[in-house]
């Protein structure tokens, strides 16, 4: 860039450039006048919609289960299904996804089964994470979905690094990382975007701007007009999109993927959406936001919007809807029961995977622990049963209490 000089001490105020919101599908499920739907085949559209519905129903049921005390914790994707699933559908299924925690829709879309969900939620012996993390910390190697980590924003520079490795490997894949507008305040966000721009990395930074970080509204999170303008600071491609509009999200992410993979350039996508539910099962939003606001956003519901579009196109019917809803509810119930009945992970999962091989010192600690548990089996029913399946212990509390 050649330097332009000015001889007036003029300050820019940050309002020079406003970034429009790309949108195709109105709240009524009709295309906006002049808007053109992206190419989306019948099968693909149905896969997307079924995933949205499955996510919605999984969330409803699991929150209810949490309320009944069947599991300790839950987080809903509700209201953000279009953002998450639209983005995922635009990727290659072998692209890496590094998510925050509220993106189970991506897993549903890629084919993570309800059994797999439930095993993690109940931390049983089949949980890939071996019952070590709180509910909703899913991961799947075969589905290229990085295991969730609670510390916020840490996955964002990791996504830059992962995608750098993909670029060197030359396999034509990219990485997409999801994060909230709150997490984007972390230092790791800044590091990730800057490094991606400098090193020309095929990574898509996908911000779910859902208006809140727990109780903190976006206006107390940043003074700017959203997250999108930050791209200027890194000279990065950017688009803002209506996050409740599945077609817009899908198309924007498709294009972003092309920029990433073909030009080796990172892209920032900001999806404007709303966290319709509480932050988590531990939260009650009535202390910090108005019912009215929640209702206004319910009008813009992304699942309903896509459903209407599908109905219009006659790619979907109310009968199918009803049938699918019922079968999904049924499946949730059955898989939940199955998962709940399964025993906890074996005792040695307490000490495995700290290192590739257990260290002598840790083995010593574990041996002492086993001796202790055998002395007091009643106090450690899970450990005791794992050590000796025949032992009878007074209480076994499967799942989390």
């Amino acid at each position: 860039m050649t330097t332009q000089y000015s001889h007036e001490p003029a300050f820019l105020t940050g309002d020079e450039y406003s970034i429009p919101t790309f949108s195709l599908l109105g709240p009524d499920g009709q295309l906006y006048p002049g808007a053109k739907a992206p190419e989306l085949e019948h099968d693909q559209a149905r896969r997307i919609y079924r995933s949205m519905l499955a996510t919605r129903i999984l969330d409803e049921r699991m929150l209810a289960a949490q309320r009944q005390g069947r599991l300790s914790f839950y987080m809903q994707c509700t209201g953000e299904e279009a953002a998450v699933i639209g983005a995922t559908a635009a990727l290659d299924d072998a692209d890496m996804i590094m998510a925050q925690y509220r993106e189970q829709g991506a897993l549903v879309y890629r084919g993570f089964s309800f059994d797999e969900f439930m095993n993690q939620l109940f931390g049983n012996e089949l949980d890939y994470g071996k019952g070590r993390q709180m509910p909703v910390h899913y991961g799947s190697r075969k589905l290229h979905y990085m295991t969730i980590s609670s510390p916020l924003a840490t996955q964002i520079p990791q996504a830059t690094g992962y995608a750098y490795g993909q670029k060197l490997a030359g396999d034509g894949q990219c990485t997409l990382t999801f994060f909230g507008e709150g997490a984007a305040s972390e230092g790791d966000f800044h590091a990730a975007l800057n490094m991606a721009a400098v090193h020309e990395v095929p990574v898509i930074f996908f911000c779910r701007n859902n208006g809140y970080a727990i109780s903190t509204p976006a206006v107390e999170q940043f003074a700017a007009d959203g997250i999108a303008p930050r791209a200027f600071g890194y000279r990065m491609h950017v688009i803002r999109v209506d996050g409740n509009d599945i077609l817009a999200v899908y198309q924007a992410t498709q294009k972003a993927r092309r920029i990433a993979v073909e030009n080796n350039k990172p892209v920032l996508i900001e999806a404007m959406t709303y966290r319709s539910a509480a932050h988590s099962s531990s939260d009650d939003p009535s202390g910090y936001r108005l019912k009215k606001e929640e209702e206004e956003w319910r009008e813009k519901d992304p699942v309903l919007r896509m459903k209407n579009w599908m109905l219009n196109k006659q790619w979907w019917s109310e009968e199918e809807e009803k049938e699918l809803q019922e079968s999904l509810r049924q499946e949730v119930l059955e898989t939940m029961k199955r998962a709940q009945k399964r025993p906890a992970p074996a005792l040695d999962t307490l000490v495995s995977d700290v290192y590739a091989e257990i260290t002598p010192a840790l083995q010593r600690q574990f041996d002492q622990l086993k001796t202790h548990i055998r002395k007091y089996p009643d106090a450690y029913p899970r450990g005791a049963q794992s050590l000796d399946p025949d032992v009878s212990v007074s209480t076994i509390d499967q799942g989390d209490s």
Partner: protein, 325 residues
Amino acid sequence: MPTMNLLQAINSALDIAMAEDEKVICFGEDVGIFGGVFRATSNLQGKYGKARCFNTPLVEQGIIGFANGLAAQGSVPVAEIQFADYIFPAFDQIVNEAAKFRYRSGDLFNVGGLTIRTPYGGGIHGGLYHSQSPEAYFAHTPGVKIVVPRNPYQAKGLLLAAIRDADPVIFFEPKRLYRASVGEVPEEDYQLPIGEAEVLKEGTDISLVGWGAQMEVIDKAVALAEEAGFSCEVIDLRSISPWDTETVVESVLKTGRLLITHEAPLTGGFAGEIAATIQERCFLYLESPIARVTGLDTPFPLSLEKEYMPDHLKIFEAIRQSVEF
């Protein structure tokens, strides 16, 4: 005297400190109108205004960086880190900045006004990232003080002392006890000393040292031990840094045995420091090896949390082994 739980005691301490000194400023993620995810700062924004009690953006390094600057300016920041597990992005601002501010400037500037409050510890089904006890990381850092209260009464008196202390203090709150621990707490202002341990119970066979939520576990173990005929002396360290070496030395000179317990992993945990110091100071008086009952050298687990925790049975067994050595 009114009855309070630990959260209410903390809230009361903050209220008193803010009412007394308008330089006291409370902030952190969600501490504003919501009063924090545990509600420790409830009503403070309403009472003292948004300028003195507010939400910050979600950035721990920024929260503590901001707090350091504010303290250097002469204000009295009380910054909340939502979970101790999330204090690590602020590690540099604590260890390289807050702890070294006075020293490096020859006391031209200091951040003595700073207090960092943060909930720590396990036993709440929190898994890896809602359970950690990171006190030992900070105990290796000269220049910051570390305080851990065991109950509501202690929490209020120690927090008021921390806020008014001339040095930066990290105040670890045992979140498992936030609502579970209830006790009599004076309405009024009072302080408890930082750097002084408290002997909670005298005994002759073994000294038991702990802090925070682990004191409750020790109590349970002592009940078993006394039943088995072992006389226990119980010490709440209260401050990890500086720690009250003399009180522990004196106790061990009498009992000849020492057990230390914490939730954090064994290796590099603060029990190691205590053991190393006491074996030196009490060498000729020790009748059995100093015992450590701690978390395993693993990240904090979830499904097998019970097995992981240094509970009363593990402590009781270690007491027995020590006395019967």
